[in-house]
Subunit: 407 residues, 2 copies
């Protein structure tokens, strides 16, 4: 008997009609002999409404533990409703909030990490022939407080539960029907991938592809959970995220991602001395600001240098403030900022064994007259920072250059 975890996002449970549709889908799988554990998000829009209320009372300094109490109510509603919808069509079911499902987290309210799952309650329900309907995005923090995992946390809940109960597969139902070689809204020749490796999915997710949350992919990779991304609105098979060994014919490049969520800072006239990078980036790290691409350019006089790096746009103002605060200790002239930039990334495990991938990227962009402002690489990824206006052009040109265009 196959044991599957099925996760449905907010758009799939946005109203009673869609909840009934999900119930019908689950019922079909149950009647085909599968044992099913469902993980749900809140109704689309509901979490934003709840967050808006918290912001309306105290936008600046609200207690994240209380934020979690308010926000975690959204999934409690959908799990109860789906259990009722399943029962009404003759499928035994019972709901679980995060704490009832034995999901333990750390105390980092608003962005908690799962520290462990007691699989007993869910397995007991499954063994009693019931569909277990579990609230995603939430768990129990130390001191019996409610905690949420942060945006997209329901994917992480689903993968963690799949690992804990030893599920054969974790199906992530969403509003797209799989993972594409690039964003099909921009690249019309983008193709759906049948399979992709954990490593590639991880890079694509962290480079801007929104189909799966980065943490959930890392967790699936660590626990070898077979993940499938598919649409709740169609019956087509989706994309399987699997081990490299499970992919017979590997493409050199699997996908091209982009992110407009970037901002560039250039710190002018820093003294080129040992420890200068630590002096610049230490205060940013202390403020919890992640720095991504870094370029240090030595000036002609060999004394002063410029330091260029990127942060997420939402951190830009805070990053400027932190640097200004430390101007005396760091020692620099001025700061230039630009948030009209985007990051384009080429991802593929084939890069490990194929030379020239980066060169093809640089040449293709040069041929289109696109200037590269910064570069960063990993074993299976090359990212470039470009002028935001060229994003679509770059994606289409690279998609063709790497032979990814569908017929």
């Amino acid at each position: 008997m196959t044991l599957v975890v099925q996760k449905y996002g907010g758009t799939s449970v946005a109203d009673l009609e869609r909840i009934r549709h999900v119930a019908g889908r689950v019922a079909r799988d149950v009647r085909a002999g599968e044992r099913v554990c469902v993980v749900l998000s809140a109704m689309a829009g509901e979490t934003n409404k709840l967050v808006g209320w918290v912001d309306g009372l105290d936008p600046a300094n609200y207690d994240p533990a209380e934020y979690d109490v308010v926000v975690s109510s959204g999934e409690q509603v959908t799990v109860g409703l789906l259990a009722i919808a399943l029962q009404s069509i003759g499928v035994p079911a019972r709901s679980f909030t995060g704490w009832q499902a034995g999901v333990a987290t750390d105390g980092a309210h608003g962005k908690a990490r799962i520290t462990g799952i007691d699989k007993a309650p869910i397995l007991a329900a499954l063994e009693a022939g019931k569909v277990a309907v579990v609230a995603g995005f939430q768990g129990l923090a130390p001191g019996d407080r409610l905690a949420t995992l942060g945006r997209g946390g329901s994917d992480t809940s689903a993968v963690a539960l799949a690992a804990a109960i030893g599920a054969d597969r974790c199906d992530i139902f969403t509003d797209v029907d799989g993972v594409y070689t690039s964003d099909p809204r921009i690249v019309t020749k983008a193709r759906k991938l049948d399979r992709i490796t954990y490593e590639e999915m991880l890079e694509l997710a962290s480079q801007g592809a929104k189909v799966l949350q980065t943490r959930s992919v890392a967790l699936a990779m660590a626990h070898k959970v077979k993940v499938q991304v598919l649409s709740s609105f169609s019956d087509e098979p989706g994309t399987l995220v699997v081990d490299e060994d499970d992919i017979v014919e590997q493409q050199v490049v699997s996908g091209i991602a982009y992110s407009r969520d970037e901002a560039r800072l250039t710190v002018l006239g820093v003294r080129d001395r040992p420890g200068i990078a630590a002096a610049v980036f230490g205060p940013l790290a202390a403020a919890g600001i992640n720095v991504d691409m870094i370029v240090q350019s030595v000036s002609r006089d060999g004394v002063n240098a410029n330091m260029t790096f990127t942060v997420t746009r939402s951190d830009l103002k805070r990053a400027q403030a932190v640097l200004a605060e430390h101007q005396a200790t760091i020692g620099f002239g001025e700061i230039l900022v630009d948030d009209d930039v985007s990051k384009v990334s080429v991802v593929g495990v084939g890069m490990r064994s194929h030379a020239g991938i980066a060169h093809t990227m640089f040449q293709t962009l040069a041929d289109k007259g696109i200037n590269i402002q910064a570069i960063s690489t990993s074993e299976i990824k090359v990212s470039v920072l470009i002028d935001e206006a060229y994003t679509e052009l770059a994606l289409r040109a690279l998609h063709t250059a790497y032979g990814l265009d569908g017929s």
Copy 2:
């Protein structure tokens, strides 16, 4: 240091502005040196919305345990929001769901009864100098399931918590400013009572006065919790519900209540034999239908009798069906029904020592040409069933007859 429980209903926390208002009120009491435990309902309208969703999926046979999961989310939102609102004006606070507050219930989902309260979590928060903000209406059923207490259950939560933590007073904030001698919307000369006994409040609540929920009054009486009913929109003192000994000058009649929630059934031609009442009311009791006023009239032939009784209007159709199902075993001719009736009740502990209270009632109604269809009495109450159209006339006439009119 005074320890008070303050309960705010749905209209008092209906939006962010009102939640801020409640926070301000609590802050004032905290700064005056009181230790405060707040009990909240869901935002006005929210519980109805959640119940509507459940009904939309499965109006007939929904699982009450899952209903409770959905519906109990409403108070979780308001307690988190009030804790944030309090913190934002410098008052330390923390929220508790029912299960976090140690409220244990039985397994009667949708109308659970509180079986015990572990006072430790609330007392720990209070002793740490925090306002404890507790979700009313809910608790933890056996098997770690969420349970709700049924409509109006937040009053019961507040009184039970007040008893458990040994509060000096339980203030029930509502949208009226106290308990009146009758409904002021109908009887313009109705007066607010400064004090009323538990027994009278219990009768008034169970006879239709909506200001306090019956169960909460019974609980307050059993545990001698001093309850005050007052408005969250004014600073006037409200009505204290206290022991009879705490009332110096007792009125003979304290209040006149009414209920339009009645329906009358008359079972014609039952055989007048021992056990006939059991035969009629047994099946109704088994179906969970409460029967209130009962009149058995013996027929002239001494063989057949008519049985008249009342049920709540929402039970009328079911009561008819149950009786029809048992027609053969009970033995009767036909059933007449009338739901254009209302029940008017005169309540006062002074009745114990004063004769003629019932007679005044019957005479007053007769003088106004109002026919009495049934009568029931208790030690401190006389209720009559009348044609619904005469409700307002009866209330005003009785209010004057018992000398309750204000100036």
